[in-house]
Symmetry: C2
Subunit: 280 residues, 2 copies
Amino acid sequence: MLIQKSSGEFVQFSLEKLRESVMRAGASGPVALRVANEVARHVVDGMTTKQLHEYVRAELSRDNVCVACRYSLREGLERLGPSGFQFEAYVAALLAATGYQAKLPEEYMGACVMHEVDVEAQKGGRRAAIEAKFRNNHRDHVRLKDILVAYARFLDLRDGAAQGKCPKFDEVWVVTNGQFSDRAMTYAGCKDMKLVGWNYPKGAGLEQMIDRAALYPVTVIHGLTTAELDGLAQANMMLCQDLAQQEPEDLAGRIDVALSRAEELIRLAGEIVEPMLASA
Amino acid sequence: MLIQKSSGEFVQFSLEKLRESVMRAGASGPVALRVANEVARHVVDGMTTKQLHEYVRAELSRDNVCVACRYSLREGLERLGPSGFQFEAYVAALLAATGYQAKLPEEYMGACVMHEVDVEAQKGGRRAAIEAKFRNNHRDHVRLKDILVAYARFLDLRDGAAQGKCPKFDEVWVVTNGQFSDRAMTYAGCKDMKLVGWNYPKGAGLEQMIDRAALYPVTVIHGLTTAELDGLAQANMMLCQDLAQQEPEDLAGRIDVALSRAEELIRLAGEIVEPMLASA
């Protein structure tokens, strides 16, 4: 049975791979096996991975709505738009949760002009200037141009620091929920820039960073409205684990929702992070 | 009487300024005076410069369709799109007509990756890498990001040349039919890059380069179709002065139009450039 990937490529359907991906999303072994078997009954030749994911999501929802949420991490990241601000806030939260001191957009004077640094991260005495490139579709690429911009900006900041105009940045990163073009990766490697994207670097990409410490964005919560997302971003609550720890009354006030909705959001966020943290 | 400029700013209507602008477009003194007087009768408070230009164009058309064409240079440049290829071809033609050896897009290996150079120009032993930024609207800006890209590309080509991977580029330019943002201008000045845009640098911008040697793009010809423009760009005939020198039979074959249309295009192109060249 052939399945069509989002790239257009066809791969053989594998029950085992499907079961593993469901387990990675936090389902127990027996649940994953049941779901995979159930979904396998619907697989037809030429089906797309997207359709397959829909079936998995639907099956998972019968057991636990939030295993389904985690399974949709990629789509959750795509909802961190379209302005890009929520993605920046999420990247900052992700870094803060992994031991960095992270700051949101700030303007710094370089040698020639002022530059906006999307996210600034410090750890172990090193300071990184991070460009956050949000993509509406995870298949969209961050291209060489974007990397050239980040590098030229970094050079001007570096020269600015030598002139005492701004703090010294030691590293430049580009982080995206999308992919990088080949030229972008080659150039960045050549210039010693750090790139983090969907499954890039292999085995240490954005989704692995997220899975490893259950740092799910609030956008994996099914049915979260744009207004609620906006409110959470303004309140700097971009991670399910932050949201799960809020007091309902406090949350209702800060993001302007009814108390019952605040309670529901906190419960949903908790269901997403708890099994992952317990198994970590 | 106040006129609203495209920037939103209001300026006092001046018959004298209007007369001068019509003369600059190639109308004789008496024609310019007649047109300016005629247009002045329609001026009302709060009218936009765009509306004023429409009146001028209509009035000029009564005398000589091609003074009207020249008067619409800015709109003509805006028709050099939307793909950007025609604008690159036009910039190359403009440079070739002013003593440069100019080449269209070519890929060069830099120190890290391959780069496309939109237009390459040589004169007096110096080689410039030129980024051509077409804008659909002349009021649109070329921003700092685009200039950072051009500069980082230039650095990689410079490093590539030092490693013998590509020819040595001595200069980097960005040419646009639009405007530059303040930060773009500041950065470029600081890095010794050359910027050419609409009325930038003051008194030596794109329109002055064009006016000075009557290097009008074929797009100032009223009624030129997209297919004709495409054909002219492919045949490297982006200037009215080149088009004016063609043989009708030859032109008809090269851009695939009827002989009568080829004759008409050659005649129109001639009417645009001849008075200007005679007065130069």
